[in-house]
Symmetry: C2
Subunit: 270 residues, 2 copies
């Protein structure tokens, strides 16, 4: 009956929450967005690990049964290290996304887009090679995509021109599958798809990680079964905490979650 | 003989350092960039004040004689509060920029561009009204300009299209003077000038704050006079500290400072 803990550097992790709510409607969720120190994508491994540990300690105060790292940069940089530190099961977005891409590709050429940190870490590449060493990976950082999404530039000439420039290497290497390796990128799906063409499959890590969470909770007997067999069941409770600027978070949240977020609480995580 | 302390959320403050070096070549400078928590422009007043106090405490460890806040967001949000806390003289970028704009405008219509935080604070507007209540101010946030500069998109269609959209209100209100109210913006001077037309005067706060620092140090008898009257004098020493990612800082630094920055040291300011 305990909640699932989810954290991200800011608001992007809400695309993961959206999928968790869709696939696990009876689970309680505690979300933490580190908006005082957002973004993580340009920061060093050492710093991202330090911030992540502080975020997890905050979630543990809420007695979470499971932690979902809803941030590609953290999953790339910090996951092995933070998994070692804590007893609570922790899942990131890299493995589920990589697995799905290897499953989806027909020509064994996969593209990855993400923040500078995620791309520099080679985390997706390493994980894909674990699943299938024959898959060739092309990885490209798209640092302007996050500001575009946060500023609401989701369509139009500007974002299309930038996308064309960023995604050029994929056309050269002929990938048939591209991982959206940042929780903001699903909001640019239309533009990315338009630039890459219909034959390229886009892998949304958010969707894949929710499937993974569902599977693990189910295997470990940790699913919240309050809704089971009841005709009118209570849906899960969702609590949102941030380290700064709850209004900014609330305003952006609807874009990512598909519904408004009220009662965002500002807390200190350090 | 003590150094001048300069701080910013990241790398943008180097445009101020560039002017300080040009105008005060004999002064030693200690620069701190809070790259672990950059950017400040989207964060709350309370958080920006907390970060600024931590940055100043770091600079005070280096026995600075004077502190220059080379960040418009901090100057807008935190200056009155931090001036109250500390004995060391502190100067921000708002007053010098506002004074120069009031001096430069002929039609008493001034524009201001800056981060969301700077614009929301109305700091430039309030300061301009202090100098001349008759001046009409139009203020516009340009949140994509910082990512453009940091990613090196300084010219071309993309940045021009965005600039045209952001700067539209100025053409409607007919301003003849625009304050570049963010330390990153001088790098987009060409594009901004192209969009606004040659008749609009651009005010670079970095230049103005260096003039102010020079004046105050001179009045207070705090100028470093080691170079005075000597034929081959030693120029000032410049030390650069960051809270994260010294390589990222070094790589970007040349774009802002006009010369490479070596030996950037990573330190903790909290």
């Amino acid at each position: 009956m305990k909640p699932i803990g989810v954290f991200d550097s800011g608001v992007g992790g809400l695309t993961v929450v959206k999928e968790l709510i869709r696939q696990l409607p009876y689970e309680d969720i505690v979300y933490f967005g580190d908006t005082a120190r957002v973004p993580y994508g340009i920061k060093s491994k050492e710093t991202v690990i330090r911030f992540s540990i502080e975020n997890i300690l905050f979630l543990l105060k809420h007695e979470v049964k499971f932690i979902c790292v809803a941030c590609n940069t953290v999953s790339s940089f910090a996951l092995p290290e933070i998994k070692n530190h804590f007893r609570v099961p922790i899942v990131g977005v890299i493995t589920p996304g990589a697995r799905e891409a290897v499953y989806a590709t027909r020509n064994k050429r996969v593209g990855v887009i993400g923040t500078k940190g995620t791309i520099k870490s080679c985390a997706y590449e390493d994980e894909i090679k674990q699943f299938d060493p024959k898959v060739k990976v092309t990885a490209v950082a798209c640092p302007l995509f996050v500001p575009f999404v946060e500023e609401g530039w989701l369509t139009g000439n500007v974002v299309t021109t930038v996308a064309k420039q960023y995604l050029k290497p994929f056309q050269e290497t002929g990938v048939d599958t591209v991982i959206l390796g940042c929780t903001h990128y699903p909001l640019l799906k239309n533009v990315i798809s338009e630039v890459l063409g219909k034959n390229v499959t886009l892998i949304d890590s958010a969707k894949q990680v929710a499937i993974e969470v569902n599977k693990i909770l189910s295997n470990e007997g940790l699913l919240n079964e309050r809704g089971k067999g009841k005709p009118a069941c209570r849906l899960g409770r969702h609590d949102f905490f941030v380290s700064d600027n709850p209004e900014w978070f609330s305003n952006l949240a609807e874009r990512f979650l598909g519904e408004p977020v009220k009662n965002v609480k500002k807390v200190s995580n350090v």
